[in-house]
Symmetry: C2
Subunit: 137 residues, 2 copies
């Protein structure tokens, strides 16, 4: 171990992460459902209450990704069973910077997905635009 | 390396991080100035433009921490030369959850400090309250 702090990711976490990166790139929302546990919690940047469940989470992601443009991941931070991924995107002409905190279970499925983003005013614009594109409940 | 993804932190990063955790706990703002490079960039959750320089960054942190209550760190994510720290706090009665992305140079000094926080409406309340507590420019 030498004189360093180490974070390890299990093969199942790495596989889950790799599949999520593919899904985000290809906007493959049907496959996203398969990557989520049924009782997944999605913590969105605009409200404190999580969105619960696979179906609602997939619907919100599809709506949010239809609003954001030029979405791109940058730095990756690791911990055991989880990852923090930094991203940039645009909402209209406005740049946003964010972080995805993703927890994986021992099968490589996502149990919790939290998104934080700055700046706050653009987050509110994004949430409002995404809401318009959600299918009626 | 076996079949895992590893992130290493150098001793200087670990020392810098340990000092930042002490400063955050003790609100030791004079020591915070010593931990920042002179041209540090602080990326706050309310606006896209960074705040530049040691003095301005320390002043904003002191103001923000005077508004937040029950500040507490939780999970830590690592990468080479940097860390992502999850936190919770309260702004009045409203809970916030955030992440600090901190970059350290080879001397263990902070070169870049980005904060993202949810939910966005409470971020705007926090920014507005902190602004009132900043010393006049």
């Amino acid at each position: 171990m030498n004189d360093t702090t180490m974070s390890e990711q299990s093969p199942s976490t790495r596989n889950g992460l790799s599949e999520w990166r593919r899904i985000a790139t290809q906007r493959d929302w049907p496959a996203f459902a398969d990557l989520l546990v049924e009782e997944v919690e999605y913590r969105n940047p605009a409200s404190i209450e999580p969105i619960r469940g696979r179906e609602a989470t997939v619907a919100v992601f599809a709506a949010v990704f239809s609003v954001m443009e030029d979405f791109e991941y940058h730095r990756e931070y690791n911990r055991d069973g989880g990852v923090a991924l930094e991203f940039t995107a645009k909402v209209g002409d406005d740049p946003v910077v964010g972080i995805d905190l993703i927890d994986f279970n021992e099968d490589g499925k996502i149990t919790d997905f939290a998104v934080m983003m700055r700046p706050a005013p653009t987050v509110l614009t994004l949430a409002s635009e995404a809401l318009k594109r959600l299918p009626p409940a």
